[in-house]
């Protein structure tokens, strides 16, 4: 039974790769950017965090700004982000990453500053800091990983947990009567004048990964212009706590998360200037 499922998944993966047509020679060359460390990641197999980390590392390396970049890690699964990113980093208290990033950027305005936060961190305990940091138009990049669940603490409900979705604290599924609706914080944030760029991407397919990288790249480039805040939501998966295989989780993400959290730009610069 298991073997059969594995074979099916392998086939599915192969088809996916073929469909995306990424099997060209130049893409087969793998190079680890120097902005990633050699530390093996603690993330569960198939988790989107590793991909998101790599994208940040690639962007910082490609823009050649390692010596000008300071990151802020949250509390949550990505609490150890600084173990993997070869970048100066500060580990914030739960929910406070955007305030910590504000402090850094205000005293070092010429550095590139980003925060990396999960849904519990950014949209539950840290909502106040998130809204006000965005509203002040802090010239930083906020990367928001939304997987609809608390990963680190073992699968509790997040503010972004979908209606009916089972977690350890919504064992019968999220009930709107009791817990309200999932919070679309990115839509809220896009309304704020201080926000220069706001977009939602995913890392569930190679094509989406490429788009996610472009969004992160934009976020770093816009800091150069000093126009305000860039906000990139990355819809991601949590195979362990969703209790699915990685491939099932990516499918589930496509079928359930993306209809509620549709991908695309929520706010783009009116007359985007060239950063270079």
């Amino acid at each position: 039974m298991n073997e059969k499922r594995l074979l099916e998944e392998e086939k599915h993966f192969e088809t996916m790769i073929a469909e995306e047509s990424i099997c060209t020679n130049e893409n087969l060359v793998y190079e680890k950017p120097e902005t990633l460390t050699d530390t093996p990641m603690h993330y569960c197999p198939g988790c989107g965090h590793g991909v998101a980390h790599r994208l940040i590392a690639e962007v910082v390396a490609e823009l050649d700004i390692q010596d000008k970049t300071i990151g802020v890690a949250p509390v949550g699964c990505s609490v150890f982000a600084y173990n993997y990113l070869n970048i100066d980093m500060t580990e914030a208290a739960h929910g406070r990453a955007s305030a910590v990033a504000t402090g850094i950027k205000r005293v070092l305005p010429d550095k590139y500053v980003f925060s990396y936060q999960g849904d519990g961190d950014l949209a539950a305990i840290g909502t106040g800091e998130t809204i006000h940091t965005c509203n002040r138009g802090e010239n930083i990049l906020i990367i928001f990983i939304n997987n609809g669940i608390y990963g680190m603490t073992g699968g509790q409900m997040a503010p972004t947990t979908l209606v009916g979705m089972k977690t350890t604290t919504t064992p019968f599924g999220r009930d709107v009567e009791i817990m309200g609706n999932p919070l679309k914080i990115t839509e809220l944030i896009a309304q704020l004048p201080g926000v220069y760029y706001c977009t939602r991407v995913a890392v569930n397919t190679p094509n989406n990964v490429r788009k996610a990288k472009k969004a992160i790249m934009n976020g770093f480039k816009y800091q150069e212009l000093k126009k305000g805040l860039s906000f990139v939501e990355i819809v991601s998966n949590c195979p362990s706590n969703w209790k699915m295989t990685p491939i099932e989780s990516n499918k589930w993400l496509e079928e359930h998360m993306l209809p509620y959290y549709p991908l695309g730009d929520l706010k783009v610069p009116q007359n985007p200037q060239k950063a270079e």
């Binding site: 390692q66 300071i70 100066d88 500060t90 208290a93 910590v100 402090g103 005293v107 800091e129």
Partner: protein
């Protein structure tokens, strides 16, 4: 030439921050210390380019301090009791990550929302930790508007010397009252780059990680042992106190901050009645002058601790004295300042008891 000015405590403190070359202030309004933020927003930027930001809460302020202090910049915040309570988690992180910064608590009466009148009810919180875990702040207790100025400079020096948060434990009366102060000359803002700071990883060094997360118990223990060793060194080097007329005193009043000045008046009134009373004023509340008090206990009959709280520092006086002589307490709570007369009454009560 001396630069003398008549200034309100909170404004004098803010002026001192600008002159000390402070790089950034992050704060949130709360009575009785909002003048610090008001004064800085009005004067700081044009004079030194110092960053001044009104945050959305004290929680945000202290986390901005955490981020900014981590870059090696000279940063500070100020608040009053309920706001300082909100900051405790952040202060614990800063202490563990060993970042220098200056925190100012212009204490008001509590518990709860309490009153906006002066109090010393936050002694335990400031001196014994306040937030979670085993950590200490260096705590300075000014008793005059002049010391509100001097302790800013001293506070930043100590914070960077020991890479430790320093707290100025003031009170609502010191913050609001006006006195003559001598201001120190403007110091330049420095651009010193510290090896422990997050400034962007260059090729010639490893990346800097500022964190208080150490999952492995042996590593966490190592961090704790290191911190405790540092606190011991601070205790050996940074004790500050003042003794007034203690040489031939029968009774010594022990008080910090503003109350120490009221005690001086009470001691004067007692002398007029033929009672020899001295005043011992701890200036650093951590590290606490245990040894000096212990030695003093050999030469006097009793201590009377006077505080604007239910009796907090008196526990440290008793620890210092270790049963050698009686340690009495009198105090006022809820934002009421004790008068010299009521302290005198207590002195007479004890004096009669001790000489009977």
């Amino acid at each position: 030439m001396k630069e003398l000015k008549l200034m309100k405590g909170n404004e004098a403190l803010a002026e001192a921050a600008i002159r000390a070359g402070c790089d950034g202030y992050f704060g949130y309004p709360i009575t009785p210390q909002s003048e610090v933020l008001e004064y800085l927003t009005q004067h700081a930027k044009e004079r030194t380019g110092m960053v001044v930001l009104q945050a959305e809460s004290e929680i945000a302020s202290i986390n901005m301090i955490y981020g900014a202090a981590g870059t090696g910049k000279k940063v500070m915040t100020s608040s009053s009791s309920p706001g300082i309570s909100l900051m405790q988690e952040g202060i614990s992180y800063i202490a563990c990550a060993e970042l220098p910064c200056l925190l100012v608590n212009v204490v008001r009466g509590g518990p709860g929302l309490g009153t906006i009148q002066p109090s010393q009810g936050d002694y335990f919180q400031a001196v014994k930790g306040g937030g979670h875990g085993d950590y200490r702040l260096i705590v300075l207790a000014p008793s005059t508007v002049q010391e509100m100025v001097d302790h800013v400079k001293l506070g930043f020096d100590l914070a960077f010397k020991w890479r430790n948060p320093v707290m100025i434990l003031s009170d609502g009366a010191l913050g609001q009252m006006m006195e003559k102060v001598e201001l120190f000359p403007q110091m330049p803002r420095t651009n010193e780059i510290f090896p422990w700071a997050t400034t962007g990883k260059t090729k010639d060094r490893e990346r800097t990680i500022i964190t208080s997360l150490h999952i492995q118990p042996d590593k966490m223990q190592e961090i704790n042992l290191h911190l405790q060793k540092k606190y011991k060194a601070i205790e050996a080097e940074e004790i500050r106190y003042e003794m007034i007329d203690c040489e031939d005193a029968d009774l010594v009043l022990v008080a910090f901050g503003l109350v120490a000045r009221i005690c001086q008046k009470a001691a004067q009134l007692a002398k007029e009645k033929g009672i020899k009373v001295g005043v011992f004023r701890p200036i650093s509340l951590f590290p606490y002058p245990y040894q000096a008090l212990n030695q003093l206990a050999d030469n006097v009959k009793a201590f009377l601790t006077v505080e604007m709280n239910a009796g907090q520092m008196v526990e440290d006086v008793r620890l210092a004295v270790n049963g050698k002589i009686p340690v009495e307490f009198t105090g006022r709570m809820g934002g009421i300042i004790p008068t010299p007369e009521e302290i005198l009454n207590k002195i007479e009560e004890i004096y009669v008891g001790e000489t009977a």
